[in-house]
């Protein structure tokens, strides 16, 4: 293999409280396809952002063509020939294909008028279209292209920039099988032209199919590399897991009771062909694990009445109920702590007090007016109970830390009478201390008879906090695990769509 043109040496990046990258080294040679794998939060995205010049590493050296530097800027990265095909495509659907490929660097003519030289633009795009075997024209409006075709446009954009390295971040996560196949052929074609590719994916069979080698990240460190000959799903999974999970588990005070919430054959709009069934029992925390995009949040939104349920039934305490709006869910005692805390959970520049009372204002009402004294008393009580660290309950929640913000979201629901509490990524962006407090609060709730459904992508949390686990894969439940079966291996197997019986430990 030829000399590497790009080398990362001992790259580290830490954020307050978190080490995202810990002395990561990686070499990229021309024409090489590297698969970058690891769990959610292993540091893959951060590493790629360092390469793209978006994140400045706190330590280490980046060597491009032998020149060493501490960090790259976005311009450096482009000049070095590093291009991205993002998970969320960065394209303009109000432009055509050629317009997207040349966005920001359109060929111009007409002197000071700087008119766009359309003829040249289309002429320049034609060979790229041919090279990638595209079945659409240079003047096709982007809005009419499928997701797979849009990816090709992104790749053309990269090629027109003379990219030597194309980084693809989960490019196949929303593609059909046939489209994935075609992308694999495109990858092979690029490789044949000497373009290197870093391929981030959760789908191990794609790694088997196209990678020259796989680099495995865990907790911000490179924990292993597999050559083409060593590649096997078992070997990759073995590397992705294998860390001592801190014991977070506090067993419930009493064995779980009857099931409180039954979700029967629920179908959401995101995965129209797949149905989910699960039940959460009184006094238990049911963990819902799975990879990002496996349909867990969509399920939670449907149960809470944000999105309509396409099919299936929701049964609460044995009675089928209809949930057409969040209001209806709340009236039934089903509450949701949403994944997007700032966008959906809180009014950021409003006080703690008013955030807490918002879903339950009717009960603070006296002659149509808000009884602010009672409202304030409750906020003070919740602040004590949840140990919300804030100078005052009149403080705007936007100025609090992530952990304290999350506690305010919890306080909203704890002031009411929860039967079922759905928490979606309850400790994302929350510091360690507040995490423990939130886990403690969840346990106290289940001991008081609440049923909790905890969606989480944090392996430590999923295994350490749940009493039982359901794992989702592409819109369906791929398996349930009891505490005795809890292992990172089993969760990952199910999360990538394997069964644990067939490929057990």
């Amino acid at each position: 293999m030829s000399e590497p043109f790009l080398e990362l040496v001992d790259i580290s990046k830490s954020y307050p409280g978190v080490v995202a990258l810990d002395h990561v080294s990686l070499q990229v040679s021309p024409g090489e396809v590297i698969a970058l794998i690891g769990e959610n939060g292993a540091g893959k995205s951060t590493l790629m952002r360092v390469l793209g010049g978006v994140v400045e590493p706190s330590g280490g050296v980046i060597r491009v063509d032998g020149t060493a530097r501490g960090s790259l800027t976005v311009a450096d990265a482009i000049k070095a020939g590093i291009a991205f095909v993002h998970q969320e495509l960065n394209l303009f659907d109000n432009l055509d294909v050629a317009g997207n490929v040349f966005i920001g660097r359109e060929p111009v003519h007409g002197g000071p008028l700087r008119l766009i030289d359309r003829k040249r633009m289309y002429a320049d795009v034609a060979p790229l279209l041919e090279r990638l075997g595209c079945d659409f024209a240079a003047d096709a409006p982007l809005a009419e292209l499928s997701l797979a075709q849009r990816q090709l446009v992104e790749i053309m954009k990269a090629l027109s920039l003379d990219a030597r390295l194309v980084i693809m971040d989960e490019p196949t996560s929303s593609l059909t099988l046939a489209e994935t196949d075609r992308l694999m052929r495109t990858v092979a074609g690029l490789k044949a032209h000497g373009v290197s590719i870093i391929f981030i994916t959760h789908r191990l069979n794609e790694v088997m199919q196209c990678a020259d080698r796989a680099v495995v990240l865990r907790d911000g460190r490179v924990v292993g590399a597999l050559t083409r000959a060593e590649l096997s799903p078992a070997a990759m999974i073995r590397l992705m897991i294998g860390r001592d999970l801190k014991s977070l588990y506090v067993p419930p005070a009493a064995p779980p009771g009857d099931s409180v919430l039954d979700i029967v054959d629920a179908v959401t709009d995101t995965y129209p062909g797949r149905a989910v069934s699960l039940s959460v029992r009184r006094g238990e925390i049911l963990g819902l694990a799975g990879l990002v995009g496996s349909g867990r949040t969509e399920l939670a939104r449907a149960v809470f009445g944000i999105d309509p349920l396409r099919d299936g039934a929701i049964i609460l305490d044995g009675e089928p109920i209809r949930i057409a709006s969040p209001r209806a869910a709340i009236e039934q005692g089903i509450y949701l702590v949403p994944e997007d805390r700032k966008g959906a959970g809180l009014l950021l520049d409003v006080s703690i007090t008013e955030n807490i009372s918002l879903p339950d204002l009717a009960s603070y009402m006296r002659f149509w007016l808000v009884d602010t004294a009672r409202e304030n008393d409750n906020a003070v009580r919740q602040r004590e109970r949840l140990k919300i660290r804030a100078p005052d309950v009149r403080t705007a929640v936007g100025s609090l830390s992530g952990g304290n913000q999350q506690k305010v979201v919890l306080a909203k629901w704890l002031s009411m009478r929860p039967k079922v509490l759905i928490v979606d990524e309850p400790t994302r962006g929350v510091d360690v201390g507040a995490k423990q407090e939130i886990y403690g609060m969840l346990r106290r709730l289940t001991d008081a008879g609440v049923a909790i459904l905890m969606i989480s992508s944090d392996m430590e949390e999923v295994i350490g906090v749940s009493d039982r686990l359901a794992v989702m894969h592409e819109g369906a439940i791929s398996g349930f695990l009891d505490r005795s079966q809890f292992s990172e291996h089993n969760v990952l197997q199910l999360a990538v769509g394997h069964t644990i019986e067939a490929e057990g430990p």
Partner: protein, 341 residues
Amino acid sequence: MSKKDLSLLVLILVVGTVVALINPRFLFVGNLSNTANQIGLFGIFSIAEAFIIIIGGIELSVGSVIALLGVLFIDLIVNHDVNWVVALAMIVAAGLVIGLVHGALVTRMRIQPFVVTLCGLLIYRGAARYYTEDATAGFGFGASFPTLEWLAAGRTNVLGFPLPHSVVALAVVAVIAWVVLHRSVFGRYLFAVGKNEEAARYSGIRTNRVIVSAYVICGGLTAFSAILIAMYTRSISPAVHGSFYELYAIAAAVLGGCSLRGGEGSIVGVVLGTVLLQVLQNLVNLLGIPSSLNFAVMGTVILAGVLGDQYLVQRRHRVGAAKDRVQASVAAAPFERVKVE
């Protein structure tokens, strides 16, 4: 009263003092009474507009609604001999329906409020002109409604000051609106929807219902002010009556601290904003500035006010950020010590 309201009040007093010093006629009872009347008339539909701006919407048809409903009101009582109490109820009901339609178009059909109410602006103006065949609607010779005229456009002597009844009407509307917006559960919902509709929905608020209600309230209040304005002017040329009034309303709301992004604003501020606009109007008249410059003066003052406010906000942020930095370094210190040990 918030800091913002207070600084607006100070600005009004400064402008008022300057005008009074240059032209003492500003303080004549007659002039003050007339200005107060204008404030009363403009204040009511400005409050109506504020309800919409607070939920993050915009209402551009205020002036056209005032023209159309004004024409209809006069036509009802003058030409159709409808009892004025009944006519008043009918006109207010029409305003509520207009608000309901706007609200439904915004929430059900998901059309942007700007577009919905821009169409309203054109449609109602056209309808008013067509209805009267572009002729001026007014009270014919001898037509007289003493009770109504006294109620709507009369003045009562209070301690030697002829207090226009429009000011009384504004006071009543403002007090009710203040309680609704700043003290009631519904008011909380209005602000919550304006701040973050998504989070409001996740908290179980029926956001669509709240938005429609705001448009209905706005329509009703606008209709009420349309009647007062019609009774004050006594004749309506539908091509120009009430034109640009929506912009007065938006200007008053913005001056009063409403954010066009929604979720912010106070009734006190909106009333003060209206006062400032009318004092400026008066200033143009009294200082002998050509009345053609009227709008230019108003625009300049609003711009200066908003710029000044922006400056103060930014300065507060800078000071706040500096304070945070100091606190952060103090807070971080113990951890660093741990690391060193």
